[in-house]
């Protein structure tokens, strides 16, 4: 866990339970959102994305929900597994913005208990 340090909010979840990770964003102009997973000693990995014209998108065991009214994004992981233990980041950008620069949230650490 050297890459993200000691001050992250942590979600502790029992293996097999569902996890919900929340993210608040601040830029009203953002219309594209991504969730990344980062395991210890590795770079962030893309999990799932959503555009602002949707409020829900599902992937394999993951669902992203977007509430533009309150600028809130969540990631739901079904049947959490030990391999889901990682730090999860949300990221946002306005599509078409110069350079498509992503702005990242601070991250949430998920610990899966066997």
């Amino acid at each position: 866990g050297e890459n993200v340090g000691l001050h992250l909010p942590t979600l502790s979840v029992q293996e097999g339970d569902n996890s919900i990770i929340n993210c608040a964003y601040s830029n009203s102009a953002s219309d594209y959102f991504i969730w990344y997973k980062q395991e210890s000693g590795k770079g962030p990995q893309f999990i799932i994305d959503i555009r602002s014209n949707m409020d829900k998108r599902q992937g394999q065991r993951v669902t992203v929900l977007l509430n533009k009214t309150v600028k809130h994004l969540s990631l739901q992981i079904a049947a959490t597994q030990p391999g889901d233990s990682a730090v999860y980041f949300c990221a946002e950008t306005p599509i078409g913005a110069a350079g498509n620069k992503l702005t990242f949230g601070g991250g949430t650490r998920v610990l899966v208990k066997p």
Binding site: G43, N100, K101
Partner: protein, 113 residues
């Protein structure tokens, strides 16, 4: 695998010395990025490039310069390293779709003593 290689993966240096980190990609992507990651700050953009010789600043560009003389390589240089630049540095490339997802390298841990 987005074909991104960062080097060196680990480096320890002394304050005041120059340091260059290299990001190499094999898939001819136009956009490349350098981020730093620190406890309490998440990932912050340093510089990015939108083509050969075309670069722009991110939110934490002070003390850093970049160069992109060919598509596959994006170099990050610390002209005179300081202890505040101790961090993990990630290179990223933008995927070829029309959205904005980034694919990251494995990171370069830099320690400035």
């Amino acid at each position: 695998d987005a074909g991104i290689t960062q080097s060196p993966r680990h480096k320890v240096t002394e304050t005041g010395t120059p340091v260059t980190l290299r990001c190499h990609q094999t898939e001819n992507h136009r956009y490349m990025y350098w981020y730093r990651q620190d406890p309490g700050h998440g990932l912050r953009l340093i510089h990015y490039s939108y083509g050969v010789k075309d670069t722009d600043k991110g939110e934490v560009s002070d003390g850093y310069s970049v160069s992109r003389s060919k598509t596959e390589d994006f170099l990050l240089t610390l002209e005179s390293a300081t202890s505040s630049q101790t961090s993990v540095y990630f290179c990223a490339i933008r995927g070829s779709g029309n959205t904005g997802e980034l694919f990251f390298g494995e990171g370069s841990r830099l320690t400035v003593l």
